[in-house]
């Protein structure tokens, strides 16, 4: 029984996912047998519930624990691990994770510009744009697709996207973000009218600095105001 986290990040251009490199070396020649990427995951420890395990995984990797996390689906069945390379990998680990065929999927949203990624068992950890993914191990491609699908549904109903932005952002940042998540383009004027209705997007007394064009107004997301004014508001 394990947890896998689909960690989404945003860098003012692309929606990214954090992936861990997995390279299997030949025991004798030490040449790589194969190399691909996987989601960050771990087994659920004794006495933990899935939410706690997900928080632990995130905390280990990112160092903070106030991260947006959302459970989206549980995957199971032996067919999750039947690719030849996955079998090789599992065998090489020695530990018997073969029985660990269930995984609870979480997605999390973080501002990847303001975060330091900790070492993950000295394996390479990298951001990939969701539309330029490398080869993935196990069934992680389908887990990732499902996560994105659920994120797209959720973001139309609730203002969860702000977790992906830093504390201060411009309205253009928000638009780029929604465009990246939804995979569409949006009309700037109409989009801003929508945002203007959302009272929890609060203007700061501050503008962009050191840009070689008209500096944009900065805003911040107020969770308190959001909680008070929860209404059905949808984007797109």
């Amino acid at each position: 029984m394990s947890v896998d986290c689909v960690i989404f990040g945003f860098d003012t251009k692309n929606l990214n996912v954090l992936l861990v490199e997995r390279t299997l070396y030949n025991g004798n020649s030490h040449k790589p047998v194969f190399s691909d990427y996987t989601l960050t995951g771990n087994h659920i420890k004794q006495g933990e519930n899935p939410d706690e395990a997900a928080v632990r995984i995130l905390t280990d990797l990112i160092g903070k624990n106030d991260i947006y996390l959302e459970q989206f689906h549980t995957f199971g069945g032996v067919d999750r691990l039947t690719q030849a390379k996955d079998q090789q990998w599992i065998k090489s680990l020695g530990t018997d994770i073969a029985g660990q065929v269930f995984t609870v999927g979480y997605y999390s949203l973080i501002d990847c510009t303001s975060v330091h990624i900790n070492d993950h068992n000295s394996r390479t950890v990298r951001w990939f744009p969701v539309n330029q993914l490398p080869e993935l191990g196990y069934d992680h491609l389908s887990i990732l697709r499902k996560a994105l699908e659920q994120l797209q549904l959720k973001v139309r109903r609730e203002p969860i996207g702000f977790e992906l932005l830093s504390g201060k952002f411009t309205l253009t940042d928000v638009q780029r973000l929604y465009e990246a998540i939804l995979g569409t383009t949006l009309d700037t004027r109409n989009f801003r009218k929508k945002l203007a209705q959302m009272k929890y997007i609060v203007p700061l007394h501050e503008k962009q600095q050191e840009v070689r064009h008209k500096p944009a107004q900065l805003f911040t997301f107020s969770r308190e105001i959001y909680e008070k004014t929860k209404k059905k508001m949808s984007i797109s």
Copy 2:
């Protein structure tokens, strides 16, 4: 690792849930110690995935296997089973299900007027209106609430409600159903305009019989037409 099914049914008036009675008898006096209800559930067998387990549970109970099923959340953690009565019950079973702290929640939609409920280990199985629930065991009340919440979200996006109606239904049936699921009332004329756009609601050459009022037109749901004309259509 287990699966719990929240089985929703509709009887032209109420949205119902199928629950199983759980009565613990004192070993000596054979008097009931407590009595409450639980969802239908079972552990996941070796080699099964959660979907298969859910189908099995439904098939055992209902006898057919073409039932609408939707995974909605996974619950875990030791706190699921900490009520005193749950501990008593688990102890009485002898079998060690204490380690079985994870459960994958599914909801299913069936037409409860056209179904025969099989015996469930000779325990009483009953429909309860979702707004008149009995006392529930374990954390099944919160599982049920989550299921209903997810059902409400889903039914606004996709025409899944028809699984709850029999093959032939009137437009009023559909309205009562949506009102029951969403817990609201809906304007008849506007609701019918919505339904009229849904080409997969097909009129039959048939009307209600033996009603002491103007007989209503009967309709049926065509999945084929739905699959062809999938568009974003929402109710509410």
